[in-house]
């Protein structure tokens, strides 16, 4: 079933930008729709704290950078929207696994959102057909996933 709720995961990379645009275009075809644009911060490991083996914490700078990225992405999406009943909202997620965060968010509030994602993000090898986050989302998501391809 085609959901009117769309989640687009972005890191500002070229494939992610195409995913943003695709989400907007799908939204324009629907009667009303909500686009949730998300980006995930991976908390840095605090190397010198021995008491806790792992302490998720992101620096203020990470958060600031992610917020800027999100608002720019949301602006790009709004610029493509022609549907007056469309809404865009931003969501900053924090998780050691970006894929897990995206999947959890897509399933939030008991409604399965359509996930729109690019074939690869900023990490990993250039030339990879399918990045690690996209692959994990495709495998583990219970919600439908639209994979947008950008050829290099």
């Amino acid at each position: 079933m085609l959901s009117s709720k769309i989640l687009v995961a972005t890191d500002g990379s070229a494939p992610a930008r195409v995913a943003e645009e695709t989400a907007a275009l799908i939204c324009n075809s629907l009667e009303d729709c909500q686009i949730e644009v998300v980006t995930v911060i991976q908390p840095r490991r605090r190397m010198y704290v021995k008491t806790t083996p792992y302490s998720p914490e992101s620096s203020d700078e990470d958060v600031k950078r992610a917020r800027t990225l999100l608002s720019e992405a949301a602006d790009r999406i709004r610029a493509k929207l022609t549907n007056p009943r469309a809404t865009v909202y931003e969501q900053l997620l924090e998780d050691t696994s970006p894929a897990a965060a995206i999947i959890r968010e897509a399933n939030a509030a008991d409604s399965c959102r359509l996930i729109v994602i690019g074939n690869r993000g900023l990490g990993g090898l250039a030339g990879l057909a399918l990045g690690s986050v996209s692959t994990q989302v495709l495998h583990a998501s219970k919600c439908p996933v639209l994979l947008v391809k950008v050829q290099e």
Binding site: M1, K142, P144, L146, K149
Partner: protein
């Protein structure tokens, strides 16, 4: 850009039927759309003792053609899928067509078919088909299509 063609590979499995329904929903939303349903008969390598009168033709030298029976079954799968999609489609400007393909690699056939349909083609497929084992999150054909496709692919999840 918004797709003008949707390619739905189906084998009649539950995930494939979910993909058919998704394709129909999308077509309803967009309005103008051509939905192409395909079922691919995998051609196996020829080995001489397998050749019988049941074999109808040889597509490529190295590959054994599929039997009439296989073709009939594949056509039935496609026809049933077309019917299911037409039941959901509301608009007259949505056309639903079907095709049986024969190829050594189903995934390659799907990717090639999508490419042939043009830039504005979206592939909608189920997470897994009838092959493989039940709990697999993503089947081999779906995985290969995701990797090999030049255009967007929408994966629909079902058990």
């Amino acid at each position: 850009m918004i797709p003008s063609n949707i390619l739905v590979p189906t084998d009649g499995s539950n995930p494939a039927m979910a993909a058919e329904a998704m394709a129909a929903d999308l077509a309803n939303a967009v309005g103008q759309m051509e939905i192409t349903v395909v079922n691919v008969i995998p051609l196996t390598c020829m080995s001489e003792f397998l050749v019988s009168e049941n074999v109808v033709r040889i597509k490529e030298f190295d590959y054994l053609a599929c039997s009439l029976e296989e073709q009939k079954n594949a056509q039935a799968v496609v026809d049933a899928a077309i019917k299911r999609i037409q039941n959901i489609v509301k608009s007259d400007s949505v056309t639903v067509v079907g095709k049986v393909l024969e190829a050594p690699s189903p995934a390659q056939a799907i990717v090639d078919k999508a490419r042939e349909k043009g830039d504005r083609t979206l592939i909608v497929l189920g997470n897994r088909g009838l092959g493989g084992f039940g709990s697999l999150a993503l089947g081999s054909v779906s995985t290969q299509v995701l990797h090999g496709s030049h255009g967007p692919v929408l994966v629909v999840k079902a058990d």
